[in-house]
Amino acid sequence: MIKDKNYLLNISERILTKAKKLGATDASVVVSNSVSEDISYRNKKIDGSTRSENLGAELTTYFGKKKSSLTSSNLKEDILDELVKKCFIATKITPEDELNSLPDKDLHFKGLKELDLFDKTHLDNKEKINYLKEAEEVAFSVPKIVNTNGSGFSEKKSNFVLANSNGFSDGYETSQFTAYCEVVSKENGSMERDYEYSSKRFLSDLLSAKKIGENASKFAIRKLSPKKIKSERMTVVFDKRISKNILSVFANAISSNVIAKGTTFLKGKENNQIFKKDINIVDKSDIKRANGSKYFDSEGVRVDELSLIENGVLKNLLVDTYNGKKINKRSNGRCGGTSNLFFKKGSKTFNELINSSKKILYINETIGHGTNLITGDYSVGASGQIIENGEFKYPVSEITIAGNLNEIFKNLILADDLALNYSTNSPTMLVEGITVGGI
């Protein structure tokens, strides 16, 4: 169904050859293809089907230190040559930037390891419908679940080739199976929604329909009839759904792009103690079948395992070729971001964590985009539960939580319940002294 590697390689070669012929001093190109088939399901019947087919190329041409890019979805032969021409013309009138270059050749990925990122299993639409039917039936078998925002199943197969005029040319296939179920609970005047989802490279790793349905209904019900609480400073425990977002913010704040510009609160903090001594953060690219695994980054640079935080100290930044030059560092294969990023697990059990204080606010949902990367100020809307003496007592909503990430990082404590389900993963997290805004 998806185009094979040779088809994509032919296009990439044609583009590179044409660019060289026109006088480009360097060029790089990504040719990618994907096909996905999605089913959405709602209230015991199919709601829709979508088939998506995408083929496109993104080329970059260099003329000395000038550089420009062009993306196109029309790759017919006669048009291809025109596109390269157009890109090169734009390149010639773009001002020079002495840092523009392809990555160093010796950093190119040249490996043979197998990461198992492609599952050729095809699930036809009937089987997808059966999965969703089961998930919704399980969810609706629970009292108080009154409606559904729909469930969905998506199967996507992708292939791509990255090539540059320094001799790099490689690509690989990936697959992604994704299922979700979102239901609505109701009790007296209160209506709430929540969901569960699972997204894996291999179908056999996907969460079962039953589990997805059970979790979605459980999550939607635990939010019913929320109370408002008074503003106060509290000990907060972040559910794994949320703690991984805090880790993502950390990754954004140590990207060479923002470090070079000085637009991050972690600028100049290399080799400084940022977290407690027992906190370690790793970006591991070669976990078999994992969502974040990759052979090389979006420039073709190999992606070795990178230790970002060791014993609480910031050891490495996320560096690409261009921004690396601004801060005198070589690329470490992080153009395009992290791979499989995670906090190593902590030493406390989940139960110890939620018993560590008499009253705890447990957060399992945040809304809003309240992170200021420059100052580290963090302020988002939230909902969750109040835990008293280790017991979940009642849901709360319409509250805000606010603090500064410098403080939050310094104070956070992790549980030992790490699971590598996503490309960014964290155990359950406890932070003392967060300002909770309520009534």
Binding site: I93, N149, R193, G370, T375, S379, I399
Partner: protein
């Protein structure tokens, strides 16, 4: 005449045959064709970061029967690809039978010119202007440490081919210019961002050195934030400034009035048509017909002419925003709100320019009436949970109000509330309605579409403010 089949193995007759054999037994559907190009010319860290140019051509083929939507899209416009899509649609809808209504309302309305904003300003002059912006912004004050500016331009041509051979077309220009300035003083860093745009040429927005005022405004916001103190937390009175803060109306109320959530009964508003949902004096419209505005459209992405839709009139809920699917299922008419990000996306009811109309009060009176509260002038991002009605906004410019007077600027203030209840808490509606500068993009189910908002100053009796300081 369609241009989409030039240089392909298709012609209009072949296409009509495939469309009619696919949609014959359906309630609705169309072949949507799109040819778009876009550019991003970015100045960052004193340098023109490489220019980017994107062209995208493709089709989205949709068939609907009952409430089941089958969709197939591809950027390969060929007989083989279209036939594959047709087979895919038929297989999803095989057991259903529908009744296609091939009458669609026609229009000659034009709210923007057919221009190509990318080609009508040369790359040289864009680069030159970006460099001038950079120099000017850095010259404002010694505290300016970083400047980012960009030109984002787009032209999108669409055609909609319906069963029966009806062909509807639109050509949509869109530009946006943004300036972001970071200041550093005494070890403290703050940014200010300002932008402008709409469906005209870049020069329409930048002429007469207008670009300088973008820099001045971005600097003013950043400089204000340099003096800011931590925001209080807790429930208090909130005065919203006019213009862009209407993004709160968009999130908190607008989404809940979109047809799909109400047809599915997952919106808090689904059973409230004809009922009082807001204070007296609150009238909210969604208008697709404003000249050159970012959210305006001649026709929506299903071919329906856009209109000015009254959502709430003097506090009473009047209408939902509808696309064809949800309108048919709710036995009403499309309001021209059927939109999609591109041919790769399904149609949903989406907002255009959502506006709260002016009332009789003045901002001065509102501030004067507040003993303790905050004055929110501008917001960054916002988000809403349609089912529970809860929304959140981050203020990028806000001040404390003490004893009827505007006080110090506040940093990191977040507003959280409940859409339906805050509508009822609106105590005063200003006489100063203003539209936003043309910068909004609304996200829904992973699709972004350009939108506009507008409102007068508002006094909201109570809302929860999130900050770090407990009073």
């Amino acid at each position: 005449m369609s241009k989409f089949f030039d240089n392909t193995d298709l012609n209009i007759n072949k296409v009509e045959n495939i469309v009619s054999s696919t949609l014959n037994n359906c309630d609705d559907g169309e072949l949507y064709l799109e040819n778009s190009k876009s550019e991003a010319v970015i100045l960052d860290d004193n340098k023109i970061k490489s220019s980017n140019f994107t062209t995208d051509v493709g089709y989205g083929f949709r068939a609907i029967t009952g409430d089941v939507v089958a969709y197939s899209h591809s950027n390969d416009i060929s007989e083989n690809s279209l036939k594959n899509s047709s087979a895919n649609l038929k297989s999803t809808l095989s057991s259903n039978k529908g009744n296609y209504d091939n009458q669609i309302k026609k229009t000659n309305q034009k709210f923007y010119k057919e221009i190509d904003p990318i080609d009508n300003k040369s790359m040289d002059s864009k680069i030159k202007l970006l460099n001038e912006i950079n120099e000017y912004a850095r010259s404002i004050d010694a505290s300016v440490k970083q400047v980012t500016a960009n030109f984002l331009g787009e032209k999108k041509d669409i055609e909609i081919l319906r069963l029966g051979g009806e062909l509807l077309k639109d050509s949509r220009p869109l530009v946006r210019v943004n300036v972001s300035i970071m200041l550093e003083k005494n070890g403290r860093k703050e940014t200010g961002v300002y932008g402008i745009g709409g469906r005209q040429s870049y020069d329409d927005y930048l002429k007469n050195d207008n670009w300088k005022s973008l820099c001045d405004e971005a600097f003013r916001i950043a400089n204000t934030n340099l003096q800011s103190k931590p925001s209080p937390a807790g429930e208090m009175k909130v005065v919203l400034g006019p213009g862009w803060p209407a993004i709160l109306i968009h999130e908190a109320i607008g989404h809940g009035l979109e047809g799909d959530f109400n047809r599915k009964k997952t919106s808090a508003f689904h059973d409230l048509v004809g009922k009082k949902v807001a204070s007296n004096g609150v009238t909210i419209i969604d208008d697709g017909t404003l000249d050159n505005r970012r959210g305006s459209l001649n026709i929506d992405d299903e071919g329906t002419p856009t209109e000015k839709t009254v959502l709430i009139e003097n506090g009473i809920l009047k209408n939902f925003m509808q696309d064809r699917l949800n309108a048919r299922l709710m036995k009403t008419k499309s309001t021209g709100n059927g939109r999609r990000e591109s041919y790769k996306h399904i149609v949903m009811p989406r907002m255009r320019n959502t506006i709260m109309l002016s009332g009789n009060d003045t901002q001065e009176e509102m501030i004067k009436s507040v003993d303790k509260g905050i004055f929110a002038v501008s917001f960054g991002g916002g988000q809403v949970d349609i089912t529970s009605g809860k929304f959140v906004f981050n203020c990028t410019e806000a001040y404390e109000i003490i004893n009827g007077k505007i006080g110090a600027p506040l940093k990191g203030a977040t507003l959280i509330g409940d859409g339906p209840s805050s509508l009822k808490e609106i105590a005063m509606v200003g006489n100063d309605m203003m539209l936003d500068p043309g910068i909004g993009t609304c996200g829904k189910a992973g699709q972004g579409v350009p939108v506009g908002v507008g409102q007068p100053s508002l006094l909201i009796n109570k809302m929860t403010v999130g900050g770090t300081q407990i009073k």
